[in-house]
């Protein structure tokens, strides 16, 4: 019985700890307002030394959303239909409707474990492209290939606005039928490019989703894409999304690279992105930050 214990046996409260039963179990951080300057999860506070409940649950929600972005199937049919309805895309879709394609990875579990399957078109898709190629004598300047990759969310949200921004730059280019590929990796664009005999390919693909960016679109450009090309032949523009690289900027960079590729007839490590070279920045004080200045 607690009231029987002699007073001298009751441990004295340690001054460094709050022992009041109603004391706040969560210690807030004085620097929590720094989260206004970064998306990083700074100043979360702590329950003891652990993450407080509300932040634990917020993290789990973000992880759940990222998992869903990976595993939700892209509705490429709906996306292709939406593209056809855009005024700015009329030139691209007038002669041939978008082509719906699939990689050799039959489902997501296979896709995740066999990147080699995701890099090649399945037989039916390859046949579809070969038939198209045989049916026309067009010479295509560019193939646009939209691929689900690791985030269908990124593709659904960013494809049309980005292509609209790009369309203003590439008026007059002869664009191959726009291709939508399910269960695809970046390199599947080379398979498409080779079969359509396009001069260049631009792949739009859902990037590996982060907790704070489940919706990030990547752009990969390859001059004369052929099956077996490595990353050394590609140029990449990453993090295309409203909270990242905005559409107009992404389109400006993409056009710079497309134009350079067309002029130099190459892409990859030999094609440097100098699209920002005209932006002169004063670097004299730039290492200063609030921790020391």
């Amino acid at each position: 019985m607690s009231h029987d214990i002699p007073k001298s046996d009751i441990p004295k409260p340690n001054k460094s700890f709050s022992t009041h039963p109603h004391a706040e179990p969560v210690t807030e951080n004085a620097w929590s307002k720094l989260n206004a300057f970064t998306d990083a999860r700074v100043g979360l506070g702590r329950s003891g030394i652990s993450v407080p409940t509300k932040h634990l649950l917020a993290f789990q929600l973000a992880h759940a959303q990222a998992i869903d972005a990976v595993h939700t199937q892209l509705d490429s049919n709906a996306l292709a239909k939406a593209l056809v309805e855009q005024d700015w895309a009329k030139d691209w879709t007038r002669n041939c409707a978008p082509l719906l394609l699939h990689s050799r990875a039959t489902d997501r579990a296979t896709y995740l474990q066999r990147p080699d399957y995701g890099r090649r078109l399945d037989e039916e898709s390859a046949h579809k492209l070969d038939e198209h190629r045989a049916s026309t004598s067009q010479s295509y300047d560019l193939a646009i290939v939209v691929v689900d990759g690791l985030s269908s969310l990124a593709v659904e949200q960013n494809t049309l606005p980005f292509l609209q921004a790009l369309s203003g730059y590439i008026k007059g280019w002869n664009i191959a039928p726009v291709c939508f590929v399910e269960q695809g990796r970046v390199a599947i664009g080379d398979d498409v490019c080779e079969r359509l005999n396009a001069k260049c390919v631009l792949v739009l693909i859902g990037e590996r989703p982060g907790l704070s960016s489940p919706d990030s679109l990547g752009l990969y450009l390859t001059w004369g894409g052929k099956v077996g090309f490595t990353d050394a032949y590609r140029n990449c523009i990453s993090n295309v999304r409203p909270a990242g690289l905005v559409y107009q900027e992404a389109a400006r960079k993409a056009f710079y690279l497309l134009n350079e590729a067309r002029t130099l007839k190459l892409s990859g490590v030999k094609l440097k992105d100098r699209s920002d070279d005209d932006l002169i920045v004063d670097t004299s004080q730039e290492s200063k930050n609030f921790l020391i200045s």
């Binding site: 004085a30 620097w31 307002k33 993450v51 992880h63 982060g210 960016s213 290492s287 609030f290 020391i292």
Partner: protein, 473 residues
């Protein structure tokens, strides 16, 4: 089951059935605990039984065979040459009579004291370490790794028994200095950052690396933090940074276990030697001269199409031969980063983390682990809690620390500042002693023994924080 014929170097008959293995590489691959990367490479055992038989067969292989039969040809590969040319016969003599199976027993026995394990190091090749790890259970990997003590130093002392260090990783998707500084402050006030403050730059060039190196150097000097900084850029960039006068503490490079892998990373052993010399010439360490920071990870060789038919864990162990040539301060296996095509789920990531830590420690490396996963792997925070705890028990040298486990630049999840404090509390693991003193001096820890943080914002940081957000909130 494979039909035995004369093309098999190893055969093992169990009951009515005979299993054959073409060569040592085939035997090693088939004896490897199951993982997606070996299935992708087409080198994994075809059945659970074949794997168990391969492990029994491997257990009978004498360690000396690894000195006679190179898994990657000597003529083609500078890492094979490094392994065999640097092999110390007299150190090996203590274990030269053992088979792989006997080596496991010996490592677990009291014969293998911490002192003896240091003596045999130069006699153990990566392939021997990989082979024995394949027939060890997780608890074996933990028990032996804990006996392997590896101490390194630069501005503090890393790897003392009973200690765990953390890399403060304040990455930002645009390298924004305010964003980076915010994460650094958060980390320091959560008592992280004694292994290194290390940034993966979003823009990877010499100018950007120099800017970030200067920024971290100024913070370290201003607060007199006994730690070191590193920008994780290509080794050739860091050499240029040094030539241009940047205050470089540690040189970084991602390394693999075959020459062809490192070719694909754009460097060779001579580049690393040049970089090490350049960093040493700056003489910036105060308590030691370990100036290299390497990162590795199972799957990099296959990813570069440079695995020579080996399993990914054997390739990984061979990378440690590269690392130990250059006396690194830190080696980090980034275990769950590469994705589910190499390590599919939490179980495979956990196993790989323990294998890498064990092999690294046995070979004498200051082995840390980026306990991590991506959102397309079958893993979550609970898997990370498990691996962090196991590695803490195993005496892991360091883990990562980032705000709330969320790396907003690399888009993956690794251990948080809070997680490190969890491991300290449940396992009683201290930060590097010099850093521990600094934490007390700065009043970040109120009680260093119980890892209790100050409830108040330490005085030294008031001014900086006011500058940014105003008031004392």
């Amino acid at each position: 089951m494979s039909k035995p014929n004369s093309t098999f170097q190893f055969k093992n008959t169990v009951g009515e059935r005979t299993f054959g293995f073409v060569d040592l590489a085939d035997l090693m691959a088939k004896a490897t605990p199951a993982r997606s990367g070996d299935r992708l490479a087409g080198v994994a055992a075809q059945s659970a039984e074949e794997r168990a038989i391969a492990q029994m067969t491997l257990a009978d292989v004498p360690l000396s065979l690894f000195l006679e039969q190179a898994l990657v040809p000597y003529e083609e590969d500078e890492i094979t040459r490094l392994i065999l040319d640097d092999h110390d016969k007299s150190a090996f003599s203590l274990i030269s009579h053992l088979t792989v199976g006997g080596f496991r027993d010996w490592l677990l026995s009291d014969l293998a004291s911490s002192e003896i394990l240091i003596q045999i190091r130069p006699g153990v090749t990566p392939e021997m370490a990989a082979a024995v790890s394949k027939i060890m259970r997780n608890q074996d990997l933990i028990l032996v790794a804990k006996k392997c003590h590896v101490k390194t130093a630069f501005r503090n002392t890393i790897g003392l028994p009973g200690h765990l260090s953390t890399r403060l990783q304040p990455n930002h998707p645009t390298d924004d200095l305010t964003g980076i500084a915010a994460s650094m402050l958060d980390g320091l006030l959560y008592a992280n950052g004694d292994a290194v403050i290390g940034i993966n730059p979003a823009t990877d060039n010499v100018q950007q690396a120099t800017r970030l190196i200067k920024m971290m150097d100024e913070v370290i000097q201003h607060y007199e933090i006994p730690t070191q900084s590193c920008v994780l850029t290509h080794v050739t960039n860091t050499i240029e940074c040094i030539e241009q006068g940047a205050p470089v503490d540690l040189v970084f490079q991602s390394i693999g276990g075959t020459q062809a892998t490192n070719d694909s990373f754009g460097f060779n052993l001579a580049n690393l030697a040049e970089a090490q010399d350049a960093a040493l010439s700056l003489n910036r360490g105060t308590v030691g001269n370990n100036v290299m920071y390497f990162e590795t990870g199972q799957g990099s060789a296959l990813s570069a199409n440079a695995n020579h038919g080996l399993d990914q864990q054997t390739c990984e162990a061979r990378a440690y031969a590269v690392a130990r040539k250059f006396n690194p301060l830190l080696v980090n296996t980034v275990v769950g980063f590469i994705g589910p095509e190499y390590l599919y789920d939490g179980k495979e990531i956990t196993r790989a983390g323990l294998e890498d830590h064990f092999c690294g420690k046995l070979l004498g490396l200051p082995m840390g682990c980026d306990v991590c996963y991506t959102n397309h792997a079958e893993a979550d925070q609970n898997d990370m809690d498990n691996l962090l705890t196991l590695l803490g028990v195993a005496g892991c040298t360091f883990v990562m620390g980032i705000p709330g486990s969320d790396d907003i630049m690399l888009n993956y999840q690794t251990t948080s500042f809070h997680d490190a404090l969890y491991a300290r509390r449940v396992l009683g693991l201290k930060p590097a002693p010099e850093f521990d003193l600094w934490l007390a001096k700065m009043e970040i820890f109120k009680n260093n023994e119980q890892f209790t943080l100050n409830h108040q914002l330490p005085d030294a940081f008031h001014k900086s924080l006011n500058r940014m957000i105003g008031g004392r909130s």
